[in-house]
Symmetry: C2
Subunit: 245 residues, 2 copies
Amino acid sequence: MPVSVIDSPLARKLAVFVALPDADLAVLSALFVRRRRFPKGRDIVFEGQTDQSANVLASGWVCSYKVLNSGARQIVDFQIPGDFLGLRSVLFRTSDHNIEPVTRIEASEVTTSDLLAAFDTNPRLATAVLWAASRDEAMVVEHLVGMGRRNATERMAHFRLELGARLRLVGLADGGGYACPLSQYMLADALGPSAVHVNRVLRELRETGLCTFQNRRVTFHDHAALVAMCGFDKTYLDHDGPLLA
Amino acid sequence: MPVSVIDSPLARKLAVFVALPDADLAVLSALFVRRRRFPKGRDIVFEGQTDQSANVLASGWVCSYKVLNSGARQIVDFQIPGDFLGLRSVLFRTSDHNIEPVTRIEASEVTTSDLLAAFDTNPRLATAVLWAASRDEAMVVEHLVGMGRRNATERMAHFRLELGARLRLVGLADGGGYACPLSQYMLADALGPSAVHVNRVLRELRETGLCTFQNRRVTFHDHAALVAMCGFDKTYLDHDGPLLA
DNA sequence: CGTAGCTTTGATGTAGGTCAAGAAATGTGG
DNA sequence: CCACATTTCTTGACCTACATCAAAGCTACG
């Protein structure tokens, strides 16, 4: 088996939750055959669209968002390598959100029927994917809690820590920081405040020496203080090791 | 087959999405044997708890919430008859939220293994339950969007319309309104504003003749105007008829 | 029939929004 | 590799939606 399969971002992420034997990993890699590239900025899924195959992101970042009739947009979540795109919408007739590549991306497609067939033969894979879906939902819940009960600074801190933890799982960050392609406008659309206020929040975090964002790179200068300030608890992201041995 | 089975809130709700033959309905009713009552106000699930069987609510209302270390609490969603409790947490080692009965409730338990076994024999049931889970997530997403991009009045309007639509699906509301056991404190914990501000929002809705909340009953006086005011689109709740024939 | 939890209202404070405008970075074609 | 266009960042001045504090009237139920 090629190293690249075992070492794909998806496999890495799932392995944290379910110990997957090589046979399962082989099935997993065979699932995602058709790999496509998409340019930055042009939506690849629209709200109301009705195709619905699932995709896994291989490289780059995307965001999932909704637009109100007022024109305001809310980014629900960002997806990074190893994340599913539109997994939740698979059972729906239509997608309930838009998906926009934040950077140039590569994504691998899998049809719903292939996925369900793989679940039949490799039940452990089904468990792993369902776990991934539950984790996605847990992230949305945590985001909702932040919108309701944290101020803009705490939300920013929490957001950066969460992304850092997620990127580490797929090998795209170390403890010190990570490359982050998001503009302040995108942060604003995701976290609620205006872009102007995002800027003020970033300055505050910089001036208090907690973390900086320069040259498209997030750097943690006092990780522990940041965690304490926003009450970040990463349990919902990795559950501290494989649940199924 | 007893009428009560086909007419249970869960069966009613699922039927909107997937046409379930009597055989599936029979399996469904056989799943939920152990029915228990719980008093209002005392939590039945705690964040961090590790049992995780799934439950379906038979009567009454509950809320799912998280508490920050600051002490603030955010209600993520309310569950009404026919809704699953903690379905998402089934795959997790621990529950990531608390569940509190808003009224006295009755709930039926199903073990994870029984549920998965039923899916093997009745795949259509699995589809229906996965749909229910996706719908739950879509509601959380819509809640998140509202927190980020709607003001307090629009959120209240949207919340009431959503609950009205959900209650209609299980036969607990007509077009004119519904019985609602929530205090203004609970509305505040769910929608974000302070309880004092919730009161002012309610007054505004009353004085503009859109809808009222008296004697624990929500009444719509101008449903169309309310829908227009908050941009409510119920697609994510019922998808206008069964997806699978 | 008291008391604890709800609801309602006024007065005042603040986080974050909006508007405006210049500086820096980034991308693009020649 | 430069000139120009476009996006992104930064900061100041001012404003609004909502928070907080305080207090009085409900209402429900043990």
